[in-house]
Symmetry: C2
Subunit: 383 residues, 2 copies
């Protein structure tokens, strides 16, 4: 709980919600008859509607990017360190929008939502959704908000993939694309980690083929394991060593038992347990599949340059040296393909030991690069 | 099944077993009243008993290092590629011994064995065992076999840790130590992966606090997940890309469902499933803890050089460039500490894309280095 709202915070914010009753044809071939998007807005849209910035969230994120929902909140939104007055995404200059992706569980329609045709939660009857589908829904939201063109679309990790897809699918609807700690496609190792997570959930006896809502239970064990696996990949080996080393939780002698013993074990178990309280297991399945499927170059025989041929946005691409989930080499693949299309690209490889999670943190060099870029974006639209 | 036994194989071998009725005081403070070691021997002990080589196995390994148990065997022993006539561990020159560690489930006493005091399987009543304990049992086996001094003690991964412990605990009982793809201690990340594996097993409803033997079941789902996580860490990202890439199992179109879709998913599920048939879940718990606990420098305030002060063996240390489980930097820590003690050390960092599993494979440069070193060891003992 904040004693008082910090000065560089967007402050208390109220989530919003928009129902779309027009059917959405999805990449998988199925149609979502209707859906809701939960979203938040910070800052003011200027008179010529030129200062809007879209934020795209990652796997376990949501529309609550910054500020507080109430004075009782223990923590602000997930990107509060970088979104707010005077921060890189400066809400005193930009009108900032962030929407929860469909398939998630934070207010937008997903597998835990009621299937209008069945009168009970979708479960695994929810259609598979992709990054491309998310971009479609975000474009519809932009229409509703009266935003013809974003000053910038910005995101990290899975959010960065959405930014890339925006630049491909709606080149005329964004001037700048900020792609942070992302990849043009998952590697076999990335998919392997996602598959272990999914298997942990789906083999949990409380999964009930995704219909656990009806059994008044949930696959707690499986989802906790999935999150533990994820967490290992979000931190660098170095960050783990600095954070935990081989420290023991109680004193210095081994217990020679199977209870929690090393600090890192305690941390992982806590992360697993607490995630179960705030995330739906089916949403974890759907969103990890969206990650696996993302590969805009696939339709071009693996040629990313060809996939980006229609792109017109100017780019900032950022990676972090210790990120082994989506390593700098993956970001450089994007940069190379953008250059090959004669696009304007700034690329920064930030020296950071925090691993993939670095994109969430106000690391000085990162704030400088990201803030500097966004300052130019703001000045362009007179903000 | 081999159509015929290859010429450079040790051929058909018969596992042996030795019961020890003298109690074993373990590092954890408890005593194992009696135990059995399963082991295999290849080659002939020479007249002055100077050509004996001990092989130490890794997490899921056993005493069956080379050759075949019957003509119906689908595969030879786990290190057959490097152990046999004319191979680096040349069974036409050495008398080679490999014993299954206690705590395992392949013939040596472990949690699935009958607790003589209870008349039923130990389960989690089995005492915690450590690398130091294993070395004690191997030394007792050496006594029984009449081997006062090993020409070399050799092992990869967890086997390499046993080699290091041998050199510390029984300096007079080995002339050479060959430590391959090992580490002087696990990192926080290594422990984290082990912890996920253990949590997968222990939260499986079929675990029954380790007493699943009595319920005529086993934690299949948990053990399969544990193995899947392990497998990701045994392969390099590069090896995974070369082996699977983003290839789909059936054709080229996404299924947009949760069945197995990418080749890497199929591989992992198969590895998980098949492991359950051949390994005991409790053994997986015990052996991963032995890995976590290994840290010979701990008693010397983290000073590995001090921990190795009494060592007299000559060393070959080998690491593999793409091994991210126990990276070359970990092997170099061992090498540095050995040098600081003015010990004779050969160190080779083998260029290999296979990751940690490379130590099991007959990679040309590795075979040359390892074979060359073992040739000198053999010549020293007139073999």
């Amino acid at each position: 709980m904040p004693e008082s709202i910090p000065e560089n915070s967007v402050g208390l914010v109220t989530p919003q919600s928009r129902h779309f009753s027009e059917p959405l044809l999805l990449e998988c071939g199925r149609t979502l008859p209707e859906y809701t998007l939960a979203y938040e807005c910070y800052g003011e849209l200027n008179a010529d509607r030129s200062n809007a910035v879209l934020l795209c969230h990652a796997l376990s994120g949501d529309h609550h990017a910054a500020g507080y929902h109430s004075m009782a909140d223990r923590k602000p939104g997930w990107w509060d360190a970088l979104v707010g007055p005077g921060k890189p995404v400066d809400t005193s200059r930009f009108f900032v929008v962030c929407a929860n992706v469909i398939g998630s569980c934070k207010g937008s329609t997903g597998p835990a939502s009621t299937n209008p045709e069945a009168g009970k939660p979708y479960g695994l009857d929810f259609p598979m959704v992709t990054v491309k589908d998310w971009v479609q829904t975000q474009a519809r939201l932009a229409d509703v908000l009266g935003i013809a063109q974003w000053a910038a679309v910005v995101g990290g990790s899975l959010g960065g993939m959405q930014v890339l897809q925006w630049a491909i699918d709606f080149p005329e609807r964004l001037r700048h694309a900020v792609v942070i700690a992302a990849t043009p496609k998952l590697s076999a190792q990335n998919i392997a980690f996602n598959e272990v997570a999914r298997q942990a959930i789906m083999t949990d006896p409380d999964f009930h083929e995704g219909r656990y809502y009806e059994f008044d239970t949930k696959p707690r064990r499986g989802l906790a394991l999935a999150r533990m696996v994820g967490h290992i990949t979000y931190l660098s080996e170095d960050a783990m060593r600095q954070k935990f080393g081989r420290d023991l939780r109680n004193g210095k002698d081994f217990s020679f038992g199977f209870d929690v013993e090393f600090e890192v074990e305690s941390y992982l178990r806590y992360q697993g347990r607490s995630f179960v309280e705030r995330f739906d297991a089916n949403s974890y399945l759907y969103i990890t599949k969206a990650l696996d499927y993302f590969d805009p170059a696939a339709a071009y025989d693996g040629n990313l340059t060809a996939a980006l041929a229609g792109v017109t946005a100017r780019f900032l691409v950022v990676s972090f040296t210790s990120d082994w989930r989506f390593a700098p080499a993956r970001s450089r693949e994007i940069v190379t393909a953008l250059y090959a299309n004669n696009l304007e690209v700034s690329y920064a490889e930030i020296e950071a030991h925090q691993g993939h999670d670095a994109f969430l943190m106000p690391i000085a060099q990162y704030v400088e690069v990201f803030g500097g870029y966004m300052d130019r974006v703001a000045r362009e639209c007179g903000a």
